[in-house]
Every structure is written in C-alpha cells, then in structure tokens.
C-alpha cells in the first residue's frame, strides 16, 4: 500500500485514529502507575500532579479515551450474540446495555474518587 493511504479517505483516517487511541491511553495509565508509586515516599515526598501541561495531556487523553469507548462499545452489537427464549437479542439493545454499563461504572468510580477525598 502507498504511504499515506489512510489520509485519503475520512473512513480510513478514523480507523487509524481508533487504533492510535492505544498510545495516549497507555501513557495515561503509566502516569496513574507513577501516581500510585509516589505514595511510597511518605507524606513528605508526596505531591499531586497539577501542572497545566498535565491537565492539557489529560484533556487530549480524554478525547482519545471517549473515542475508544464509543467505537469499542458500539462493536459489541456486532460481536455479542445472545438468545433469550430462543430469540436473538437485537444488537441495538446489546449496544445500549454496554453504554448503560459504561455510565453506571463511571458514576460509581467518580463517587469513590470524590467521596473518599477530604
């Protein structure tokens, strides 16, 4: 395939963006690992990330994370086949249940992250 083939069509470009989401998400998780490790130094050495650069990095990562969630959870309707009482569950219902699970998990995690703070 010629170089830059993925720049020729919007569909190809979005496919490459979808695959690329892995990189910023991996970097953000490595940051989270670092944030956990920083607690090892005790209260005197601990500091929380708060620079503008870090916030900007997170904003970019959030954009890619939302795109990953949207594309990956939408795929569930194609991949998952469940039968209830002998009838296949419509893919629209499966996709909706995935998005509902995403929403519920997000509320729960936000409640823990904010609720246990002081």
């Amino acid at each position: 395939m010629p170089r830059g083939w993925w720049l020729r069509q919007r569909h190809y470009f979005l496919y490459i963006v979808r695959e690329f989401t892995a990189l910023p998400l991996a970097l953000w998780l490595l940051w989270l690992l670092f944030e956990i490790h920083r607690a090892a130094g005790g209260p005197k050495h601990f500091y929380a990330s708060g620079s503008l650069a870090f916030i900007a990095f997170s904003v970019i990562c959030l954009g890619f994370a939302l795109y990953h969630s949207y594309t990956f959870l939408s795929l569930a309707g194609v991949i998952i086949n469940i039968k209830v009482a002998g009838k296949p569950v419509p893919s629209r219902i499966i996709v909706l249940s995935q998005f509902a699970a995403w929403f519920a998990a997000s509320i729960l995690i936000a409640a823990v992250l904010i609720g246990f703070a002081r």
Partner: protein
C-alpha cells in the same frame, strides 16, 4: 489419519488466551478509563472537586485497600494487552510488515507482561495492605 485427527482436536489455547486478554483489555479501557482521566486528570487538578489522590492520607488509605489494589491491577495491566495488539497492527497498517514477526510479538506482548509485573510490584510495595 491419526495425525490429522490429533491436529483437529488440539485447541488453540494460546490464541484463545491472547484474544481473551485483547477483548477484556478493550472493555476495561472503554468502561473504566474515561472517568478516571476526567476526575483524576482534569477536575481534581483544576480544583473543581476534591479527589482522593490530591492528598497523601486519603490516597494512601485508598491504595492500601486490597480490593482497590486488585481493581488497580485489572485497570492498569489488562488494557496493555489490548494496546500491544492494536499498536502492533497499527505499525503493519502504516507500512511496517516486520511488526507481524515473532520478535515483534515478543516485544509488544512482552512489554504488556512487564507492565503487569511492574504494576503488581508497585501495588505490593507502595502502601502495605490494610483494611482501614
């Protein structure tokens, strides 16, 4: 004939494991990650809400909980098996067929295994397990 039968019956266990890790890593990243980035990466640092990781006492208290440690292991380690697969094929798509080779597989999935081991080590050594 016997040889053929054996071949057919042999399950592709390795393939199944990698595929399972790829799919589960994708689900974990899709369902759990955006809210962590939003709350810990944006709302907390901006001071819009109080977040558990902004203060040593609350962060150490949460990270010491064994259920949280297990959750963090799943949250951090599993997506890397998904990322490894995606980035390897991204390189193939962008014109690097060598990313299909066995050494490339060892590097990419090996990196995911290394991240898993480092995560386990950090979770076990950072804050002692406590139920408080």
């Amino acid at each position: 004939m016997n040889h053929d039968t054996e071949h057919v019956q042999k399950p592709a266990v390795a393939h199944l494991i990698w595929w399972f890790l790829f799919a589960q890593g994708g689900v974990i990243a899709a369902i759990l990650l955006p809210v962590h980035i939003l709350v810990q990466g944006i709302l907390g640092p901006l001071g819009i809400v109080h977040v558990v990781d902004r203060n040593f006492d609350t962060w150490a208290n949460v990270v010491g909980n064994p259920i949280v440690k297990l959750y963090l292991l799943v949250l951090i380690a599993l997506p890397f098996f998904h990322f490894a697969h995606r980035l390897r094929y991204l390189l193939v798509d962008l014109g690097l067929p060598a990313a299909r080779s066995l050494p490339a597989q060892v590097i990419f999935y090996g990196a995911a295994i290394v991240v898993t081991l480092v995560t386990i080590w950090i979770l076990l050594t950072t804050v002692p397990i406590s139920f408080g």
